[in-house]
């Protein structure tokens, strides 16, 4: 399907939306529209169907639509869903993160003309170099502090205080000078980092009317998914492009699911948008996922008035468990009783229908060891994942999936793999070079069609075909090259992924036969039949020292976790926990209290 040809696949998808008047209203919207979509409300379906419609009916070639979402995982999922409607990422549809939008659509074409002071050629600092420079900056500005503890508040400050002439900036004698120093060091090294890219993109859009004009000409409509997670830079980009530059906005998200405060996200931004006079706000209230009890319980934890209604004829179960002997007992209870019982309770239920959700990657480590010891296959999604799912690695997973058997079902398609590869190798401009590189890639893929091949060996073959070198050669891919190297390291003997095969690696996106282990943060957007939440102690959630707005975010976190479940939510707690060598016995999380009191359990 040519990316230029509008398709009509969306018409049958649209027929489904007709049954839900609010979904239909969103589908019928003509101007700026913000859809506030609760859990399980079918927001992705609304977004993809509406986007397909707008591409076919509202925007004529050569103009197109830009679609921005939170992270690479979301991008991948959106591309998959849009692909089913016949929309491919291409000249008429840009689908990507804020960073990739800023890089590809703003910085690369316009930075030089717009006088942005950037290294030429543009070089992206890999994470290790960022860390190193950040360490130097901390040492220079703050002295002896541990850079690891400073990084998160530093990032949040840099992403939220954008006006560097404001009082908030000038009055800050800790992070403001640190940002200045760090950016100075980056510039001296001739590099840029991801946040720098977004900030540069924003600056170009803010400063130059002609940049806004060019973007609007190319993309008269801006679609945003996961708006609540996107933070101030995107919010300002939206303000400049849509309310100043004349682009039409279609945004979808759920402020109740805003759980990335530490990255600069603010739920208020989306509410502010929805409250605007010139924006049509639509609230989806039908929940197609969660059982009735789960909706009541989760809304209680959220402590907000919501009129969500379950569509499914399913009561749902919310149950809590006390494990007095501590976290290890919670783990064994889950593995020995709750999981087997859940599997037995419903015909056809598989391990992949169950999600174990926990607060941090430390808990994840404990749990995964026990799961491994029990001989249960699992897949883990959290920062403790042995590797970062960067765009290239995510693409490699697809390649592995193709090698492990996808070639027979054309899922993923070889042509899609080759096209994505082209995007990672922008330095190749000549047909001959591109063809040679494609040959190497195809040779590699065909030569490694073996699901049982060890990941280490597979990655070595990748390098041997000159493909790693091709990524490494491009200065804008420095970060990717480094992540790839770490992945290869981890796959070698004695390291965390030593046992991984091509099939394991390729099947990382939730397979029906693997138990899902994930932090709550990483569970966003996923859904399970059964959710088991662990480590719900007062003092851990909410954290023992929190501000009022941090407690609100903790409530949203709890809410997100519960609303991943269709039928069952199991809440596990011990009443005590250890922290920095001390034991704290504060009882179960007050959110568990509130939930159980509301539904009349424990």
């Amino acid at each position: 399907m040519s990316p230029n040809k509008p398709t009509t696949n969306y018409l049958s998808a649209a027929a489904d939306l007709r049954r839900n008047d609010r979904q239909w209203a969103a589908y019928e919207s003509r101007g700026h529209c913000v859809v506030l979509a609760g859990p399980g409300s079918g927001k992705t379906k609304v977004l993809t169907t509406k986007m397909a419609r707008m591409l076919a009916e509202d925007v004529r070639p050569p103009r197109g639509i830009t679609c921005i979402t939170f992270n690479n995982q979301c991008v991948k999922e959106l591309k998959r869903r849009l692909g089913k409607l016949g929309i491919e990422d291409g000249s008429r549809a840009f689908i990507g993160t804020v960073h990739s939008f800023c890089l590809r659509e703003v910085v690369l074409p316009y930075a030089k003309l717009g006088g942005a002071n950037l290294p030429d050629p543009l070089k992206v600092a890999p994470p290790s170099e960022q860390d190193q420079l950040f360490g130097h900056a901390v040492e220079a500005v703050l002295g002896n502090e541990n850079p690891q503890y400073v990084r998160t508040p530093f990032d949040e400050f840099r992403r939220t205080v954008l006006d560097r002439t404001s009082k908030e900036w000038t009055a800050n004698d800790r992070y403001a000078p640190l940002v200045t120093k760090y950016e100075q060091l980056l510039a001296d090294a001739g590099k840029i980092d991801f946040d720098g890219m977004a900030l540069t993109g924003l600056a170009l859009i803010t400063t130059h009317a002609w940049v806004r004009k060019a973007l609007k000409a190319k993309y008269p409509i801006l679609v945003v998914d996961e708006y609540q997670d996107l933070g101030i830079p995107l919010h300002q980009i939206v303000a400049h492009l849509c309310f100043d530059g004349g682009m039409r906005l279609f945004a979808v998200g759920d402020p109740d699911q805003s759980i990335y405060g530490f990255t600069g996200a603010r739920p208020a931004l989306m509410n502010e948008l929805a409250d605007r006079e010139d924006v049509e706000d639509i609230r989806l209230r039908l929940n197609y996922r969660c059982g009735k009890t789960i909706i009541v319980a989760s809304t209680t934890a959220l402590a907000e008035n919501r009129d969500f209604e379950s569509v499914e004829d399913n009561k749902g179960v919310v149950q809590d468990y006390q494990c007095e002997r501590g976290f290890d007992e919670q783990v064994s209870l889950a593995m020995e009783t709750i999981v087997p019982d859940a599997l037995a309770r419903r015909e056809g239920r598989k391990l992949g229908d169950i999600g174990i959700l926990y607060l941090n990657q430390y808990d994840g480590g404990t749990i995964s060891q026990a799961v491994e010891a029990a001989g249960i296959e699992y897949v883990r999604f959290d920062q403790g994942n042995p590797y970062q799912r960067t765009p290239v690695i995510s693409w490699l997973e697809d390649c592995a999936s193709w090698c492990a058997g996808g070639l027979r079902t054309s899922d993923p398609r070889l042509s899609t793999l080759l096209q994505s590869w082209a995007r990672f190798t922008p330095a190749l401009t000549k047909d001959s070079e591109i063809a040679a590189c494609h040959r190497s890639l195809v040779k590699f893929l065909f030569g490694t069609r073996n699901p049982d091949m060890r990941l280490a060996e597979w990655l070595s073959a990748f390098a041997k075909h000159g493909l790693y070198a091709q990524i490494k050669i491009d200065p804008t891919m420095a970060d990717e090259a480094e992540s790839l190297k770490l992945l290869h390291e981890a796959s070698k003997d004695g390291n965390s992924l030593a046992q991984y095969t091509v099939a394991n690696f390729g099947g990382q996106h939730g397979s029906p036969d693997r138990l899902n282990l994930t932090t709550i943060h990483s569970a966003k957007g996923l859904e399970y039949d059964v959710v088991i939440m662990m480590g719900l102690e007062q003092g851990r959630i909410p954290y023992y020292k929190v501000s009022a707005h941090q407690e609100k975010e903790a409530r949203r976190l709890f809410y997100v976790a519960m609303t991943r479940a269709r039928h069952e939510v199991h809440l596990l707690w011990s009443g005590w926990y250890n922290h920095k060598g001390n034991r704290y016995s504060n009882g179960r999380s007050k959110f568990v209290d509130e939930v159980m009191n509301q539904i009349g359990g424990g």
Binding site: N4, P61, L108, Y110, G114, W210, L215, A427
Partner: protein
Amino acid sequence: MRIAHIHIENFRNFHVLDVAIGRSAVILGENQIGKTNLLYALRLVLDLSLPDSARQLRVEDFWDGIPRPLTVDARIRVSVDVADFEDDEGHLAVLAEHLIQPEPMVARLTYEFGPIPGLDHEPTNDEDFEFLTYGGDRPENRIGYDVRKRIPMEVLPALRDAEGDLARWAKSPLKPLIDRAKANVARADLDALAKGVSKATDKVAELQPISDLASRINDKLKGTAGASQAVETALGFSPADPDKLLRALRLLFDGKTRDISEASLGTANVLYLALRSLDLDSLVDDGNREHTFFGIEEPEAHLHPHLQRLVYRSYLRTRPSSTLDDAQPAGRVTYLLTTHSPHIASVTPVESLILLRKDDQEKATVGVSGASITLTEEERDDIERYLDVSRAEGLFSRGILLVEGDAEKFLVPVLAARAGYDLDALGITVCSVAGTNFVPYVKFFGPNGLNLPIAILTDYDPQDGGRSLGEDRIADQIIPAMLGDDAPKKRGDRLAGAEANGVFLNNHTFEVDLFQCGYYWSIARTMTDLCSVAVAVERAKTRAESKALEDEETFLGDIGYVGKGRFAQRLAAHVFESKCKKCPDYILKAIKHVTQ
């Protein structure tokens, strides 16, 4: 949208061609100079119908001036800068990624042909090379079908068969127009009409003599092939198919009495062009493309000069004017013509002229364009009026003598002939500026303009007190206009260098100098022929007998009774028959200057 600039390197005739372009382009030059190659260079970037196998050029397409064998640095490059598109969002959507300048926006599209990187030998074969097209000076920003489909270039070649194409449905420029109209015709109407047509045509076959004929044919067939073998035939029209009904439409002329096959070649060409440009406009209106760059080679083919001027004036003069209807969208087509026709050149806006010629070493074709000459609006209007009236022949000449008025225009060729110079054979044109304001013409034709070989002939015009208007003219106007910032600062230097720059003064006034040159009796006879003032005729005879002027003022005053132009016209005939074979010195110098 328009092409603002073209840059070509190492392609065929061109070593480096760098020209600014106006709203349209009219490319002038001798045969073999590379007019078609210039259009082809643009096609490499923009033509949607050009296959990639044609974009893959050959070694011989490199400019001959590059030593063979070629090295790894050898490059053919064609860049097209596009401007005036930012107010249309469709245009901007296509070009936004290819900007090289933001305010006002200019986008650049580039074609490049060079050796494949990493060859282990010097590039010698065609296969050692490959091409790349990209936008915005960023080679990684490849362009192709996506861009070409929206802003394609189409070329109407020199050897075309307008009449034939008009007659064949598949090739007819009428086809897309009728297809478009058909979309708005109700199907039921069409069906009903088809039935009506069939009914009417059936009646023809029912006419007695016709049906008799049909029977005779059938009988004959039976007689020769036998009853069992013979096929039953009938006379009639094929049944009217509603879909084909519209295709049967023909353009008719002269009160619907004649069709295209009876039209003259010229009419067919005009019609062909009109239909094509209507189609190009519709393609934009229907949203199928944003703009068309329409190349027409030798548009003068088969067209009467009068028609050339009339037709192309309308295509080329698209300069925004207050008389244009606001609803009328800005030019959806950019016309790029190659021509030998002074008639077409004469209606071309100055900014659209592109003149191709050999460089000094005769090795490569270089070009200059009217768009890069700085002229005030009044000066530009002067030039355009001048070209229009003079039929633009100066643009096609090898040298131009700029003179003050009709007198010189009539007489200079004759005087040159007396001295043995045939200006026509030399390709030298005498152009009158109708006055003494040489400035716009010097700017336009001179070294900072089209850089044609020019010489200026102007009168010394002595004034009371020993001053000379002619010298003032040279020092204050002509030399600054000619040399711009390079003009010498001092008046003395400007005058001293005038002849080296092709500016020539006589001793007094044209007629006075002619008299002094020796045409005493030619002048006297002309006065006798034309002057009705008896004393003036008498004075003329006296002067011829004495070979001297009593005073210049009276002499010129007497000519004024006749009128300088009319006087010169008649004088030309007498000079032609005169025994005197002299030509004033300043004219000879000017001729030598432009023939050097």
